[in-house]
Each structure stands twice: as C-alpha cells, then as structure tokens.
Symmetry: C2
Subunit: 205 residues, 2 copies
DNA sequence: GGGTGGATGTATCGTCCCGATACATCGCAG
DNA sequence: CTGCGATGTATCGGGACGATACATCCACCC
C-alpha cells in the first residue's frame, strides 16, 4: 500500500523522503498520513528490490579536509522510479480485485492515482467499493435495529455516526460513478493503454 | 487501545475470545473491527500481567479413555476481569490527555465506554476531540485552496470528501457536547466517583 | 445416510506500520 | 546571539493485521 503510493508519487518526479511524506498526506486527503518509521524502511526495501533508485547528490568527499566534522553528515537522498518500478506500478494500478476496494487505505491510494488507471478499471473499482459499503450499511442497520435498546446514549451516537458516514460515502461514490459514465472524452492514459479489448465478461451496465 | 476495549467489555461479564471480537465490532460502530492476530496475543499479555484471569471449563481429563482423539481438544477459554484490571480500567477511563482524542481509535473506544466516565472528563474529551478536528479542518481547507488547481478530478474529489467528513464529525461532536451540557441529572457512575472536586482550572464555558 | 457449507472457536507466523526518539542543519525572530 | 521551528534522515520496540491451520457442531439438502 505504501509501496503503491510511493511509486505513484515518483511517477511525476524524483523526491526525497520528507517531500514524499508531505505529498502523500496531501494526495491522500489529509486524513491519515504516514510515519517515518514506515516510510524510510519502505524506501530501503524498494531500493533493494530495484523498484526505485537512490541518489545522494552530496559528495562531501570533494570538500577540503577541514570540513566541520563530517560525522553523520547526511545529504538528501533523492529517489527516482526505475523501469521495473513503472512496470510494477502499472500492474498495481490496473488490478481491480477485491483487495482494491475492500481495504480502506488501498482504495484511497488507488483513487488518488486514478488518472493513471484505465476507464473500465476505474468503474469496476468504484462499483466494487460501493458494493462493499452497501453490505456494511446493511450489517450496520441490522445490528443497530437489533441492539438499539441495550445501548446507552454514547454507543448509540457512535453507531449512528458510523452509519451516517457510510451512507455519505455511498452517496459520494454514486456521484463519482455517474460522473464517470457521463465522461466520453476520457483522457486516455498515454501508457499501458489496453488494446481495445472488449472484455465480454464485464458488465458495463 | 485493545487493552482498553477488552477491559471495558469484561466489565460487564466474562467472555471468551470469539464473543469479545463480536461485541467489540458492535460497540465500536461496525467500522473497523479487530483481528484474531491481535486479540489472542493481547489476551495472553493481559493475563500474564494479571489484568484478566483465564478459566477453561472443559476438564476433558475426567472423560473415559476412549474419548475420540484428544489431540488438540480445545475448550473455550473464558476470561474475567480482575481487581487489578478494574483499577487499570478506571485509570484509562479517567485520563483526558491529548492521547485520548488525537488518535481516532482511542477516542472511539473511550466514547464507547463513556457511561463509565465522569461527566467533566467526558466534556473535556469531547471538546478536545473537536479542537483536534477543527485544526485538521483548517489545514485541509488551506491545503485545498492552495493546491486546488494542480489536482486532477479524482484527487480533488478525495480531498473534498475528506474535508466533508471532518465537517460532519465536528457537527456531530457539537451535538454531543450540547447534549452533555443540557443533562443535569447525570447518571453518576457508582465507581470512582470524583469527590466533588470543582477543578477551577477547567473552563466549563 | 452422507456431505457440504457456515458459524463457532483457539492459535501462530511473517510482515507491515506506528510512535517515540535521536541526531543534524538552517533560517528567522526576539 | 540564542533559541526555536522547519527541514531532513534514521532506528527500535511493540503492536496490529492478514493469512492460515486446525477443530467442532449444526442445519440443510440430496
């Protein structure tokens, strides 16, 4: 998930950790950012896997020896995406399985990079997400009606607020889906354009 | 956090893991449950710490030897809260520091057990939560106004939805706070009743 | 009679992620 | 000139998660 987000951001331009974190918070809707405790290890992991390439442009070695205590002199480490990384990102971005919309965070990241996603995949993910939330809606409504009497004021408020927030998200998704269907001049992503496959097993309606 | 929730649930009656998980999901508003991968280790931890006591009522040993393959015969393990556990819960429930409302999950759990919380603490937590969200609101609004032009349709929708959801929660909290202030016959929790301290440093208005 | 699926139930493993913390530099305000 | 907040990289321990395994019981249906 973090991997996905990092690849998506580096798609635009190389960045270093600090920037990455800020951009991430911005692109993800502000709610729930990422910690350095996950970011830096993830960057190392991905560099080791060849998905991104590190480049630290502070060759302090060419400075005169009287440089002030090079102990721990750390330059910014700028990361750029590799060809392999782009490949991986294309994979991730076009996967529309349940893991793409069942998980909250996953869905958010995917949506944030929807401009890199083909139109049919977008629709599938949006609808999958809505289905997931509708099921949750039913379960919550049920549970609320059954246990309503046994709950105190605060738990009740919590339940209702949770349900409201799901309702709200469903409505939001419906807007997005409608907008999606009413957008014929789709901005075809220049990369990984599917060769006009008709995908007969997929219901567009 | 899990610890908090478990203690809160066991306050009512002893339970075993499976029940705990279901009750937890119910009391927490349905959104975001807990996995066994965290629950069972947590129970062991807490039992080792003396906060809860395990009791497995399936003494299969008294069965005749022809019992069918006692390999892995596992009885239900019922956990009950101990005196020490109740003490710890009282501590947790009356702590109104930033950790009580800065973190999403923490706040939810605390709210779910508000009936065990003194009225002044309730108000402090509710207001603290609202402040936290209002700050987030400002940051989001700012960020949205500044970067609006550079975002594509989807990121924009994500941002707006995030902001809306924060707005909504602020309004919800305001309702709760108002209700709190308009409730003079507070159901004093029978345990840990604060000895009528007036708390002069706390603004009630 | 038999099997299939689902709810109940306990438990572990590897992986990921978070909060806290440490260290270092730089610019700006007091 | 001094300290403080932003920028910046990094680690550590603990906790949570998803997947998985195993086991029982019951209801439903063929």
């Amino acid at each position: 998930m973090l991997e996905f987000a990092i690849l998506g951001l580096l798609q635009q331009s190389p960045m270093h950790g600090y920037e990455l974190r800020k951009e991430l918070a911005a692109v993800l809707g502000g709610r729930r950012s990422i910690s350095y405790g996950s970011l830096y290890p993830a960057l190392k992991r991905m560099a080791a896997a060849g998905l991104i390439a590190a480049d630290e442009p502070t060759p302090r070695a060419l400075l005169p020896a009287d440089a002030p205590a090079l102990t721990g002199r750390r330059g910014k480490v700028v990361y750029a995406i590799t060809a392999e990384g782009k490949e991986r990102f294309a994979e991730l971005v076009s996967s529309a399985g349940p893991e793409a919309y069942d998980d909250d965070g996953r869905f958010g990241v995917h949506l944030a990079f929807f401009r890199h996603t083909a139109a049919d995949v977008r629709l599938r993910i949006l609808e999958g997400r809505r289905r997931t939330l509708e099921r949750q809606q039913e379960r919550l409504t049920d549970s609320l009606r059954r246990t309503q009497a046994k709950l105190d004021r605060y738990s009740l408020a919590l339940q209702r607020h949770g349900l409201d927030s799901v309702d709200r998200e469903v409505r939001w998704l419906t807007e997005l889906i409608d907008g999606e269907r009413a957008a014929p001049p789709q901005p075809v992503p220049p990369q990984t354009a599917p060769p006009t496959r008709d995908e007969p097993g997929t219901r567009t309606e």
